[in-house]
């Protein structure tokens, strides 16, 4: 059992959810989700956010029925020891893939926008020890990083007012110019921006009055939705759709128009501040991966953490160019979509049947 002093109050679920959802995706999701719904893609963001709220509801129903309600326990209960361990391993692999993509995308941004000559492996030697330092002690440290990861980058929202000087309403008019199918296709892409919260399945037992924290989880998701909505709306007002198709990181492109007398390129400050939004993603996901492995194999949390960080290090060096990173992003999006909207409801139903069976059984 987890000791009471290791648990965090329900309120922090807001920060855990938001900080895990808002990360590297916020830099460039506008073009990706606009592939089908064009200038109406901001509606797709709303649809995706609401759909995610439904999944959060399902997760809470799933988790609240177990003593140590995390995905390891649920898998063990639902599938039995061996099959459960295999499914947990797959889940861990999914979390780690997400971590690798987040980290590599952020490093890519640093490479393209700030230091083209930087040695990636050496940069990783700076970031990864920081991740290890955060996750090797208590969960409360992770929560602290998540808290700051919401507070600091929130200042960047103010910069969204600047590009509005060039906003053209014609760029997003007429509203609802696309079919429902196109909107749904775009929504399915927008879901990728929210998938980071899957770690909820692991940190749930660390929350005091966990059942009551559901409101905060929905609020956190709502706040992420608000951020994505604001960013996408400003982007679609600022960029023409044909223009947007050429821009790789539209959010950084918005900062390109900012001119301060003492500060020529705002992106440098922006990208640096965004590290506070990326770090919670990394620490939460690696922490969750290490914990699931530790719970499954009893191998020790710290040892698992080091193993995972080494894997992360190697994975990030192997991925070298933009194309591979793009492909990996797409693959991750599809897996995330399948996991959240396919596997989680499926697990919920299966778990429910098993519980019924056990109650009525011998």
């Amino acid at each position: 059992m987890i000791k009471l002093k290791d648990k965090v109050s329900a309120f922090f679920v807001f920060f855990l959810i938001t900080s895990s959802q808002v990360g590297v995706g916020v830099l460039g999701f506008q073009r990706v989700i606009g592939q089908y719904a064009g200038h109406d893609a901001w509606i797709a963001v709303i649809i995706a956010g609401i759909a995610i709220s439904v999944i959060i509801w399902i997760m809470y129903r799933l988790l609240s029925h177990h003593d140590i309600g995390d995905i390891v326990a649920i898998h063990r209960f639902t599938y039995g020891k061996w099959l459960g361990a295999i499914f947990t391993l797959l889940f861990t692999a999914y979390l780690m893939l997400m971590t690798a993509v987040v980290l590599r995308t952020y490093v890519e941004v640093i490479q393209v926008w700030m230091f083209p000559h930087i040695k990636i492996w050496a940069l990783l030697l700076l970031i990864l020890p920081l991740v290890y330092y955060t996750i090797s002690s208590e969960f409360r440290t992770v929560v602290g990083v998540c808290f700051l990861g919401v507070v600091y980058p929130s200042l960047l929202l103010l910069t969204l007012f600047y590009p509005l000087k060039y906003a053209t309403l014609t760029n997003i008019m007429p509203v609802m110019d696309h079919s429902v199918t196109e909107l749904m296709q775009s929504s399915s892409l927008a879901v990728l921006e929210f998938i980071g919260f899957s770690a909820l399945l692991v940190f749930y037992p660390y929350i005091r009055d966990a059942v009551k924290s559901q409101t905060y989880a929905h609020l956190g998701n709502g706040y992420s939705l608000l951020i994505y909505l604001m960013v996408s709306l400003v982007t679609y007002l600022y960029y023409n759709q044909t223009e947007l198709r050429e821009v790789i990181w539209p959010t950084l492109g918005l900062w390109k128009i900012i001119e301060l007398p003492f500060f020529a390129r705002f992106e440098y400050l922006g990208i640096a501040t965004l590290f506070f939004a990326i770090l919670p993603n990394l620490v939460l996901l690696v922490w969750a991966s290490a914990r699931t492995l530790d719970r499954t194999f009893n191998a020790g949390h710290k040892r698992m953490a080091i193993l995972l960080l080494v894997i992360l290090f190697v994975a990030n060096i192997v991925l070298t160019d933009r194309m591979t990173i793009g492909v990996l992003n797409n693959v991750l999006g599809n897996i995330g979509l399948g996991f959240l909207f396919g596997y989680v409801p499926f697990l919920f139903v299966l778990n429910w049947i098993r519980r019924k069976g056990q109650k009525n059984g011998p």
Partner: protein
């Protein structure tokens, strides 16, 4: 824990040590280009002239100029760097200029390289130069530097003068968008002194027409809402100047029986500052009427010219897309020259200064 910290420290030291050899850009070991001018040369080559400041003593500034000819921008950079004492960098560029001949051939390549570069901001000013930007940049000399001078010249003419807002952002939007064509200001020399001469209109990225700067304030009011404009009129019996002019314009596109019709409504208000007769207060309605008539006449002429040339700097294509569903922008481009476009005006003179 102590061992952990030792490992961390080792990692940090390795990381710092390895990345220490990254190419650095130290402020007194680089030269910041403030203006770059591109001219069409023979055989499709481009002559580029760059201006970069150097500081002979404290609070003194002089401009250095380098010129080179090559068939691509970055090849030219090599040539320019062969002459410069330090590495030339673009990040502080304030204006990028193109001569008319180059603009007529198409600017796409010479603008897109700016968009691709993360170190260049999108508020960079672009301009067309009448003859040769090399001559222009070599002639113009000011103590605050050509770059700063041209930037300031452009900025106040956009804020308070006849120039409509244009920079890298608006130009590239117009360039890439299907429902709008871009425009740029034209600079020229008069007795060795730079001045705004005209406004150049582009069909996609090729310059096709210019209008003299006197007509630009009409275009500006048709193109955007103006906060501090002016309008000068010389009617048969009086001359008047209206200052502090606010205007807002709305473009309405309707489709009647398959025929697209466009109405541009311009609402203006302003203050009389100059009037060739006594007692401006007695002539208010007359002035209002004559200004509106004059404005409509000029606007009509401009729009007719745009339609003849098939350029759409007012963004009527974008408006059509906004207001009529399923307008195809490709098809719109074909019908655009024949669309009836009417200009409607409304004007109020709110004050006439401190004397009536």
């Amino acid at each position: 824990m102590g061992r952990n910290y030792a490992v961390f420290l080792l990692f940090v030291m390795i990381s710092m040590g390895v990345n220490f050899n990254m190419p650095k850009k130290i402020i007194d070991q680089i030269q910041m280009v403030t203006v770059a001018g591109h001219d069409l040369a023979e055989n499709g080559k481009v002559t580029t002239t760059v201006v970069t400041p150097f500081f002979p003593a404290e609070s003194q500034q002089k401009d250095l100029r380098y010129t080179g000819t090559a068939n691509s921008i970055y090849k030219n950079k090599l040539k320019l760097n062969e002459q410069a004492s330090e590495q030339l960098l673009d990040a502080k560029m304030m204006m990028s200029m193109y001569n008319k001949d180059l603009a007529k051939k198409g600017l796409s390549n010479y603008v897109r390289y700016l968009l691709r570069d993360p170190s260049i901001g999108n508020a960079l000013y672009l301009a067309v130069v009448e003859d040769s930007s090399e001559d222009f940049l070599n002639t113009v000399k000011f103590s605050k530097g050509v770059g700063k001078y041209m930037e300031d010249l452009m900025r106040h003419n956009v804020k308070h003068g006849p120039l409509p807002m244009s920079n890298l952002k608006t130009f590239s939007s117009g360039l890439i968008s299907k429902g709008q064509d871009p425009f740029l200001p034209v600079f020229g020399l008069k007795k060795g002194h730079p001045r705004v001469k005209a406004l150049a209109f582009f069909d996609e990225d090729k310059l096709v027409a210019t209008i003299p700067i006197e007509k630009a304030s009409v275009f500006k009011k048709l193109y955007e809402s103006v906060e501090d404009g002016q309008y000068n009129i010389a009617a048969s019996d009086f001359k008047a100047s209206i200052q502090n002019m606010d205007s807002s314009r709305h473009i309405n596109v309707v489709q009647k029986n398959g025929q697209i019709e466009v109405t541009i409504n311009v609402q203006m208000d302003g203050v009389i500052r100059e009037f060739s007769k006594d007692r401006a207060s007695r002539y208010l309605t007359e002035i209002e009427k004559k200004v509106q008539k004059d404005f409509r006449k000029n606007a009509k002429r401009l729009i007719d010219r745009f339609q003849e040339l098939g350029v759409d700097p007012l963004g009527i294509g974008e408006r059509a897309k906004e207001q009529i569903r399923d307008v195809q922008q490709k098809k719109f481009k074909d019908v655009y020259p024949d669309i009836p476009i009417t200009v409607k005006t409304d004007m109020v003179l709110t004050e006439y200064g401190v004397r009536n």
